[in-house]
């Protein structure tokens, strides 16, 4: 067991070193661009997974990302705040909105919660498309969102114009997200989230308010969704309401399921695998790209219901099966 966790640590450290050194291997803007998008989507998928951990699927996860994106651009472009203030503030705003929505909807479970979040996602899209067009920009959305910059006066001025600077920003925030969510997962709070998804009635019967923890779970999840939204807005530079419509949550759901639901690293693996697959390898297939992509997802779900993260366990159980025969 001890040796296993050491191997895991070494592998993770190697991956981190590789990612940090990545721009040394390739200066290709397209590759760095995709890597940034993968990072942002990892944060979104991980945030979705937090809520899946309490046993609910939030179809408005992309809408909450949208709230973060719009809040962040508003703070930067209208109020003139620095991106470095707007990013955490937008995340907090998103979490606060989700707290209200959570208090209203979390008394409903399963399909009812799903429907409420579906409607909320539509509501957010309609709000951004048709209301306060002067602020939200209507259906065309908001363009020319400024890139972040670090201005230290005469000492240094770093603008995040090139893909490389943004790559390091995304890498840092993605790792920070995973570290924080990993810590929560191992804490007593994470244990209770997990327990709620296994038996809500039992959690309630031992004196723990399930409502309180479910609202907390949704708020934590949406905090990171908001962060992903803020990053996305300032990375791409253009946001439109349809970027965050209800269909936008389908891809992150696939990432989480393919990677491994309810695990911290599952969303990371699933997002990296599927996005790298579609952007780097399936591109050449043209017309057939989506077909092959879909088939791969179906095959993985059919043969690895616990996701890609279960591969090491599957492999070691095969070996365990073969060992007695070889003796």
């Amino acid at each position: 067991m001890h040796e296993k966790s050491r191997i895991k640590g070494v592998i993770l450290a190697a991956i981190v070193v590789l990612l940090v050194a990545m721009p040394g291997f390739t200066k290709e803007p397209y590759v760095l661009h995709i890597l940034c998008l993968i990072g942002i989507n990892i944060i979104l998928a991980a945030s979705l997974n937090v809520i899946l951990n309490i046993g609910e699927l939030n179809l408005a996860q992309a809408a909450f990302m949208g709230i973060g994106a719009y809040a962040s651009t508003f703070l930067v472009m209208r109020l003139g705040l620095s991106f470095w203030v707007a990013l955490p503030l937008a995340s907090v705003i998103t979490a606060a909105v989700s707290l209200l929505i959570g208090l209203l909807t979390l008394r409903f479970r399963g399909a009812y919660f799903l429907l409420f979040t579906f409607l909320f996602a539509e509501l957010v899209r309609i709000l951004f498309s048709n209301f306060w067009i002067g602020i939200f920009g209507g259906i065309p959305g908001i363009t020319n969102i400024p890139k972040p910059r670090i201005d230290l006066g005469s000492i240094a001025l770093i603008t995040f114009d090139s893909k490389m600077e943004f790559y390091y920003l995304v890498l840092f925030l993605t790792m920070l997200t995973i570290l924080i969510l990993g810590r929560i997962d191992r804490s007593r709070t994470g244990m209770i989230f997990n327990a709620i998804s296994q038996s809500e009635s039992l959690v309630e019967s031992i004196g723990i308010s399930t409502m309180r923890f479910k609202v907390l779970g949704v708020a934590i999840g949406c905090f990171f969704a908001g962060m992903a939204g803020s990053l996305y807005a300032h990375f791409v530079g253009i946001i439109t309401p349809s970027d965050f419509a209800v269909h936008s949550v389908l891809a992150p759901i696939a990432y989480v399921v393919v990677g491994g639901m309810g695990t911290v690293l599952g969303p990371v693996i699933g997002t990296s695998f599927l996005m790298a697959l579609s952007h780097f390898f399936l591109r050449e297939l043209g017309f057939y790209e989506l077909l092959v992509y879909g088939i791969i997802i179906v095959v993985i779900i059919r043969f690895m219901p616990e996701g890609l993260i279960s591969i090491p366990r599957m492999v070691s159980s095969w070996f365990a099966e073969f060992r007695p025969a070889s003796r």
Binding site: R183, I184, S187, R188, T189, M191, I192, N194, A195, Q198, S199, S201, L202, V203, E204, S205, I206, G207, I208, S209, T210, L216
Partner: protein
């Protein structure tokens, strides 16, 4: 001292009156059996006491405080902890973690301390594990600490459920048909444990339809039929009661 008391407790489901004007009480340190044929309303009473159902009328008092209509988690924190008729545990967790969660509401781990993993939170975690181990030893499950709950045999799962409830440190333990699906040996073993739990100063409300099994350990029984109390008193006297015999066996020809 009265541990639990219901007054005029009534539950209607549409036109059906499942429980009708029920009044009974439970003394501190007592084992009270709530018995009756299938469909008598026992589980409905149980669910109202534990907060899973809201009564249509009537009051419930626990240690002099009114608990009518409170949320289940609130009632559990006041010290009335239940088990479930159908097996209900955290299947994907270890046996030890199941019981550790039972101790949670008594622990002093705040939300943010837990997230920040402060030293105090770590100390609480160590203490919780120690308490959980103690309870598992009491229930003879200590050797299964690291097993996943779902992998235990049925009899041990029922013991684990009771361990989880005990971990929440109840004044009153409410057991919903704890003998269901058990063989003779397991029944005897479970009854001895319930007796031991009472010995530790706790009161027990036992819902059961198997009347014979509970006569030996209950101080008193309350018999329900069609939502009404038809008899109350020491088990052997109640067993001789005409109304009870009629309810269980039908009218004598």
């Amino acid at each position: 001292m009265k541990m639990l008391e219901t007054r005029n407790l009534t539950k209607r489901f549409g036109g059906l009156v499942a429980v009708n004007g029920l009044a009974f009480h439970l003394e501190q340190g007592e084992i009270l059996g709530l018995i009756g044929p299938n469909g008598a309303g026992k589980t409905t009473v149980f669910n109202m006491i534990t907060g899973a159902l809201r009564p249509s009328a009537g009051e419930i008092f626990f240690r002099d405080g009114r608990i009518t209509g409170l949320k289940p988690n609130r009632i559990a924190r006041l010290g009335a902890v239940r088990t479930f008729q159908l097996t209900n545990l955290f299947p994907e967790m270890t046996v030890l973690d199941n019981v550790v969660l039972g101790t949670h509401h008594k622990s002093k781990i705040g939300l943010f301390q837990s997230l920040a993993a402060t030293k105090q939170a770590k100390d609480c975690e160590v203490l919780a594990r120690k308490q959980a181990r103690g309870i598992l030893e009491f229930m003879d499950l200590a050797d299964q600490c690291d097993a996943l709950a779902k992998n235990l045999p049925h009899g041990q799962q029922r013991r684990l459920e009771m361990s989880i409830a005990l971990a929440a440190d109840p004044q009153l333990l409410l057991l919903d048909e704890p003998l269901q699906g058990m063989n003779q040996d397991e029944v005897r073993d479970m009854l001895a444990r319930i007796e031991k739990i009472r010995g530790a100063g706790r009161s027990v409300l036992l819902v059961e339809h198997n009347m014979k099994a509970v006569t030996n350990i209950c101080d008193r029984v309350v018999v329900l039929d069609f939502g009404r109390k038809i008899a109350e008193g020491p088990p052997h006297a109640v067993m001789q009661d005409d109304a009870v015999i009629e309810a269980y066996l039908g009218i004598e020809a």
